[in-house]
């Protein structure tokens, strides 16, 4: 694969942190590891670093590929954004992707060995929050010698981390880029997460979260959780257009096998996901989403919560995203305006629902590219 706009073959790295971390829940981890990747080169002033934060199922593998024999199959999750000459241009920026604490792609999480028991943490891994992720990411920044990020960028749950960075370390972020995100989940959002969690928790193979010892995984629960999630990531229009009422066999067969194409699609997505993602990570990540609410400590006043921020902002939403609807992004925008912060906001027409943030709709990438071009390296 000789795509000049690809960062090419990448090899993940591991950073070790031996200092204890106190989590928002009050729990402590004696130390931890984060798996990360970098693209581009850090400049002499160490001023061109951009942190990419991942969402529910994402990872440190943002761009490029892991297997030169199968580049298309091992592509990073935001490869259309990051690379030489792409909107997040690695000729200009030093881009860092990191798997969050509690993740299942190599960073310390439920699958890691608990030093106190010599066995995997499983359900004993403490719940982590967006604040905790930012704290862990800050330690990685320290280790990489990055005092200030040129930008912190993320979509969905990743956007929450970008926003949280500007609040937790206002002097360490020049630009916050918050895409398809929200200042907090709605009751409907939490409801979907709860259905996903119940699917996992009620799977007989879950074993209270200690399924590793039993040599099983709660595959059915995880599969259901992903199916529910997938419905909410797509728009009604797009589902109608892509699948409609198409029948697999061209006739009604009056049974519970796959009949409609949408069923086939959901089962495929669920099976695929359950084959590689860890159920405990899924559970704790949905809780991190539910807990995120920077205004909570300010009596629900988001404007007061964002008063700490100093960064410039780019906020974007997508017209057909009903999981993180444009209204939620506008709440962030108005709160930033209240605080006199510089902000641009794009409300992009795209029919792909919440997943639009991972696509490259022309107006979306054009606006984002223009914003990123305006950032001094």
């Amino acid at each position: 694969m000789n795509d000049p706009r690809s960062v090419g073959l990448v090899v993940p790295q591991t950073a070790r942190f031996d200092q204890e971390i106190l989590l928002k829940s009050g729990a402590r981890l004696p130390g931890f590891e984060l798996v990360y990747e970098t693209y581009g080169a850090l400049n002499a002033a160490r001023s061109n670093a951009v942190l990419v934060c991942h969402a529910l199922s994402g990872s440190h593998h943002v761009a490029g590929y892991h297997d030169a024999a199968r580049p298309e199959k091992t592509l990073g999750w935001w490869d259309n954004l990051v690379g030489p000459g792409k909107p997040l241009d690695t000729n200009k920026f030093f881009v860092v992707g990191v798997n969050n604490l509690g993740g299942c792609y190599g960073s310390t999480g439920p699958m890691s060995i608990n030093p106190e028991t010599g066995k995997p943490y499983g359900a004993d891994f403490p719940l982590v929050t967006v604040e905790d992720w930012v704290e862990a990411q800050a330690r990685l920044a320290d280790q990489l010698g990055i005092a200030t990020w040129a930008a912190v960028i993320g979509g969905s749950l990743g956007g929450m981390q970008a926003l949280q960075w500007t609040l937790e370390y206002p002097e360490r972020v020049r630009h916050g880029i918050v895409i398809a995100s929200a200042p907090k989940l709605s009751a409907q959002n939490i409801a979907f997460n709860e259905v996903a969690r119940q699917a996992i928790l009620s799977d007989p193979d879950f074993h209270g979260g200690h399924y590793y010892e039993h040599g099983v995984v709660p595959r059915n629960g995880l599969r259901l959780a992903r199916m529910v999630g997938h419905i909410t990531y797509l728009s009604d229009d797009q589902m109608a257009e892509k699948f409609g009422r198409q029948l697999r066999h061209g006739e009604h067969r009056f049974n519970y096998d796959v009949e409609f194409e949408i069923e086939s699609y959901l089962r495929y997505q669920g099976d695929k996901f359950a084959g590689f993602f860890d159920a405990n990570t899924y559970l704790l990540t949905t809780k991190a989403l539910d807990y995120f609410d920077p205004a909570f400590a300010f009596g629900g006043d988001l404007r007061a919560a964002l008063a700490r921020a100093q960064a410039d902002f780019f906020v974007a939403s997508f017209t057909t995203d009903w999981r993180f609807a444009p209204e939620r992004s506008r709440e962030i925008v108005y709160a930033l305006l209240h605080n006199g912060l510089r902000v641009s906001y794009a409300e992009v027409e795209c029919d792909a629902g919440h997943d639009s943030f991972l696509l490259d709709a022309p107006h979306y990438h054009a606006a984002l590219a223009a914003y990123l071009e305006g950032i001094a390296p």
Partner: protein, 202 residues
């Protein structure tokens, strides 16, 4: 001299105090805000619906918010801007009166410009039996984005009726200020507006 009306930039700038907060509704590619940022050091925000213009604003280093003005300004706080500007787009908005009132709620003053339908050549076109087509009304009747057709006299009457104070009016033709009879000689009208009884200072 462009259709964007750069001729009125200097006059608008003269009404702006350095360092002000300015909101430009229908800001296009952000040229006016870029000009005001450079000349007056304003803290500016533009509102624009067209995605290509949104990108152009960002390239121009102008804060831009992709909001639909027909949904109103309810998200903006009272008195949060010194000036709220609407340059050459009032005629494209359906909810004229609510929008003007909102501009004067959000801003201490409003600056509004629009093409004057009663400009002499427009009157002549009508007298000749055809809808006017000119530099500032460049569209055919069937493809015009304009939804409101009004004159300087109409606008004055509306302001009087709605308790909107006209603090200054400058008409332009061919890119130059017009001295007498603005409603006849003015191609474009530029107004500085305030709330009645709240003083005349900017």
């Amino acid at each position: 001299m462009t259709l964007n009306g750069r001729f009125d930039f200097d006059r608008i700038a003269a009404w702006i105090t350095p360092g002000e907060r300015v909101l430009d509704l229908g800001c296009g590619d952000g040229s006016l805000l870029k000009f005001l940022q450079r000349e007056k050091g304003v803290r500016g925000y533009g509102v624009e619906l067209d995605p290509d213009n949104v990108t152009a604003c960002i390239r121009n280093g102008v804060n831009v918010l992709q909001f639909d003005l027909e949904r109103g300004l309810s998200g903006f706080e009272d008195d949060s801007f010194d000036h709220v500007i609407m340059s050459l787009s009032l005629q494209t908005v359906r909810h004229t009166v609510p929008l003007l009132k909102e501009m004067l709620r959000v801003g201490h003053e409003a600056v509004v410009s629009f093409p004057n339908f009663a400009y002499r050549p427009h009157r002549e076109a009508i007298a000749a039996g055809r809808m006017p087509v000119s530099r500032h009304l460049p569209y055919q009747w069937y493809d015009s984005p304009n939804v409101r057709f009004f004159t300087i006299a109409d606008f004055d009457a509306l302001c009087a009726e709605q308790g909107i104070q006209v603090r200054e009016l400058q008409a332009f033709a061919d890119g130059r200020p017009v001295a007498g009879e603005p409603n006849l000689n003015g191609e474009v009208a530029l107004y500085r507006l305030g709330r009645s009884g709240s003083g005349t200072g900017s």
